[in-house]
Symmetry: C2
Subunit: 445 residues, 2 copies
């Protein structure tokens, strides 16, 4: 048993420890140390008391004593078996879990959040679910924190999505971690085309054991979208606001995680969201009429392969252009540069780029401004890049350009055909006109 005094020893206390805290006031508390969250202060630990309440204890005002380790983990990791649940409605729904916070609870071994939730909890989150669906097929494909998702996983998910649609499903919901959700959404948008209903990636920024969780509302929103959306697109369904006022449905090839912790982190870039859902009324409001309608048939166009030989290279002032030669030398077939401004990288990279392009590597220019479009015709550097054979990502996000090129190189053998398709608008990843309201409004006093 460790006996720790304030300040010095407090840092040795671990989540899941059973502790006795003696406040300066003389009061004594006993409970389990709760995990750190993104809002935790360095100076405060949170203790769950036996009555269920959490209290924060300042390290400066207390002595702490570790009594033992919490033995019963709060989390039970039910495997999410392949399950088909019948309902009384008409919607044929597939629910695929790939993991992430939405499928997560706190786990006391490390005190961190890890994926795990079960089917019945999931169904409990959506009242009337069984009144809406004819059936819901539930399947856990992966149990991954999404930073661990790779192009190989995209392939797996794409195949399952296509299979579900071919089997008669109206809509596919995918629970997914938020870190790389927009990458997976873009990947599926290219890999699974001509679909008879929406694919809806849904996640949460706060795990479902926390009072501020967005898991429940996002999940409910995704069911509404499955039931009411007119589009056959791959989408992302997340909070539109920090409060619970509405859910946004973003086009998968136009969305980006723009905040590390806010519940409304996901925002459309160079586009407006496809729709919003009002959770109190279940109302579905179409915002963007320029959508891909549902396919009338089930001839899903599945091209699920992705090359893992594409690199997303961010330009920065000190970048040593030899990195481009290195990437080509170790077998990269595509390089997406996240350039500056209208699509630039320093001019002395141009000869190096020309060399690798001549060797058959496809080099694409996108912009780290995220908003706006690449135009390499305006400035001298851009013209030289164009002449060296660099393709423009136009108004595609760098991440989407990376996914698109990985997909093209995975499915198309002819390099000229890859180049032609790269600059073509395949699933509305490119836009003609940028409206004034595409650029958000910053606070300026």
């Amino acid at each position: 048993m460790r006996s720790l005094h304030s300040r010095c020893g407090f840092n040795d206390v671990e989540e899941g420890d059973i502790v006795r805290v003696r406040l300066k006031s003389g009061e004594v508390l006993e409970g389990i140390v709760m995990p750190v969250t993104e809002f935790s202060s360095e100076d405060i630990i949170i203790i769950k008391l036996s009555n269920g309440y959490n209290v924060g204890v300042s390290k400066n005002n207390a002595e702490i004593e570790v009594l033992g380790k919490s033995k019963t983990s709060v989390v039970k990791e039910y495997p999410m078996e392949r399950t088909k649940i019948e309902g009384k409605g008409s919607l044929k729904l597939a629910f695929i879990s790939a993991g992430g916070t939405i499928m997560s609870k706190v786990e006391y071994e490390t005190g961190a959040v890890r994926p795990a939730i079960n089917v019945s909890e999931l169904i409990d989150m959506v009242p009337n679910l069984l009144d809406i669906v004819s059936y819901i097929e539930v399947e856990e494909v992966f149990r991954l924190l999404s930073e661990n998702m790779t192009p190989k996983h995209w392939e797996e998910i794409a195949k399952i999505v296509a299979m579900k649609f071919m089997d008669g499903t109206d809509s596919v919901i995918i629970a997914h971690g938020t870190d790389t959700m927009s990458y997976t959404a873009a990947a599926l948008a290219f890999a699974v085309q001509n679909i008879p209903g929406p694919v809806i990636l849904v996640g949460s920024q706060r795990s479902s054991d926390r009072p501020s969780t967005d898991a429940v509302m996002n999940l409910r929103g995704s069911i509404t979208v499955a039931a009411k959306a007119p589009f056959g697109e791959v989408t992302v369904c997340m909070h539109g606001h920090t409060s619970d006022t509405y859910i946004l449905i973003h086009r998968g090839v136009r969305v980006r995680k723009m905040h590390s912790s806010r519940r409304d982190a996901f925002q459309s870039i160079n586009d407006i969201p496809l729709a919003k859902v009002i959770p109190t009324t279940g109302e579905f409001i179409l915002l963007n009429k320029d959508y891909i309608p549902k396919s009338k048939d089930r001839n899903v166009k599945l091209r699920p392969r992705f090359s893992d030989r594409v690199f997303l290279l961010k330009a920065f002032p000190g970048v040593d252009c030899s990195i481009i030669e290195y990437l080509a030398s170790v077998g990269y077939r595509g390089i997406v540069i996240e350039g500056t401004g209208l699509g630039h990288i320093k001019e002395d990279c141009v000869p190096v780029i020309k060399n690798v392009v001549d060797e058959g590597v496809i080099v694409v220019m996108s912009t780290q401004t995220l908003f706006g479009r690449v135009n390499m015709k305006v400035y001298t550097t851009g013209r030289k890049l164009l002449k060296a054979g660099v393709l423009s990502a136009d108004d595609m996000l760098p991440e989407v350009a990376y996914v698109k090129l990985s997909w093209l190189l995975g499915n198309v053998n002819d390099v000229d055909e890859v180049k032609k398709l790269f600059v073509s608008n395949l699933v509305k990843e490119l836009g003609n006109i940028h409206h004034e309201n595409y650029f958000p409004r910053w606070y300026h006093g």
Copy 2:
């Protein structure tokens, strides 16, 4: 003489060509072909007629004939010699040109925009300038499109800025290209501390020969800031709105170019702008009271060196972790990862990262969400990264983290000291509290 028919041949016409255009209506126009801008359509060329008007001609409705090449270039490249101009006011001002669009005009040789403007034109842009200043020292340091700016250039500029302040200057204005303006601003903020007045980077998104230019208003705004600002910080001074209603002054370590072409492309991230200027009235409005005040002395703290052995690595789902080993093997001493979400990269990179950290490479985690802060304590992957020795960039922009680490490794020998300083708040590049209004408002219907 080339004779070109619509569609097929139009693409061979080059800017600066003197052409005769025969419209389908029978009308004939003669003029000089104007350069492409970021708003140009692929199907239209712009011709400047002898009466000075520009007309757009659709490629589908005209035949074009090249009569010759425009011989007299419209641009005269006056060198901007080191000049000191005396005024009747009290402000001691240094104006340094590093190049960029603000110092640019169209050049007809390639049809593109290249840096060049002269001192008298510059002074003409700001009415009453000589009533405000005691003197203005003008000096062209570089004539660079800013994508070509490197850490070596930052060193040069930092030394000149320090020298100007030590010589009695009240404020230093730096004309700079917008592509990497925020990188240079951050670099100067670290390299030149304890300054007696503001350093103001000013640029433009549209060159001064274009009717929509923002050069004049931004330049005027920068003079107002030089005269009225209470802070001794390195700042960026650019349009706050697409219309000419106000100019924003951003903290150099908190600003980012967020649009490739809009005049209000520069926005503060995880902070609010320091101030705004109303150009019609010359009013200076302080927005952010949390600024670094002007130093009372001229003991400028100059530490101008930057290591060029720091890499800014963007995490993406297919990233091959061996890139990290490669970077260490070719002598990189710092790697700033632009991770996902709260600060993650896929878990199988952790052992590779641990190896390079053990070899003495400093690895930093920032986030590609840009908004919000890194917190590696919340999820398992983050905890493993922390344990491997990865430092958190907290709420610093990835680009600022890259600049800061380059600066620390350039000026501080002891690795532990570098690590300590990296996580310390030196020039308000880190923030304690994020207010609701730091996150911009997107259009949601």
